[in-house]
Amino acid sequence: MYLTSYLALAAILFCIGLYGVLSKRNAVMLLFSVELMLNAVNLNLVAFSRLGLFPNIDGQIFTFFTITVAAAEAAVGLAILISLYRKKETAEADQYNSLKG
């Protein structure tokens, strides 16, 4: 199995996630499209840690940290989204036009 097929799969997933971020209006969809992009990056890290020029375990360790940060980001992002929804009564990302609480 070559490295390029894993990289191609990660690129496809990243582009799907990027399309979701750029074209969706619902803020929850934006948040989870970002999660999809982070997963594509994790796949790249693991593929390089197994099939790269210098196979090394460090790629997997980096992936653990990325997963941790992504989980924290999803939790805080959802909390911000829910408090914004209480204030604005909408989940559409283009209605959020003010930072003032």
Partner: protein, 165 residues
């Protein structure tokens, strides 16, 4: 080699199909299930890359935690009526064109670069090795990650709690 290629093809088709259904489905539960499907397929691909512990972590955190978080998020904020049925607007065409050109550039770069082959076949790292590296070489980032999780937990509670009148 052949069986690995077969498994990789099936898992990647599942992952891409799940992602596409996630973006295109209208119902909330279909979205959540297809996203969980993508995460499960990625866990299978981690198994193929012989990162077993990481595959289990992926199933636990992504397919278990983040999918449930997504269902909560969508059900707590009700989507506006008529928003999925809106016509395909010009900014969506622009973003689609941008992403297709970006994708073509990435693919050209990936396939033009020389094929990387590992110098020597390494044995797959065991969980014991991962643990010893995580607690020796990466001890400080590990502790920082725990602080980050604590701060995120407190921050999420503070942000999402109702204001006292």
């Amino acid at each position: 080699m052949n069986a690995e290629f077969f498994a990789f093809s099936i898992l990647s088709v599942f992952a891409i199909g799940g992602a596409v259904f996630f973006l295109n489905s209208v119902r909330v539960m279909h979205m959540a299930i297809s996203l969980a499907f993508t995460f499960f397929s990625l866990a299978g691909i981690y198994f193929l890359l012989q990162a077993e512990f990481l595959a289990v972590v992926q199933v636990l955190i992504y397919a278990g935690g983040i999918s449930i978080l997504m269902i909560f998020g969508i059900m707590l904020t009700k989507p506006e009526e008529g928003s999925p049925g809106r016509s395909f607007q010009y900014h969506q065409w622009i973003s689609l064109a941008t992403i297709i050109s970006f994708f073509v550039i990435i693919m050209v770069i990936i396939y033009q670069s020389p094929i990387f082959t590992p110098a020597e076949k390494v044995s797959s790292p065991s969980v014991q090795q991962i643990g010893s590296i995580l607690f020796k070489q990466y001890a400080i980032p590990f502790e920082l990650a725990s602080i980050l999780l604590l701060v995120a937990l407190i921050g999420a509670i503070v942000l999402a709690r109702k204001e006292q009148k």
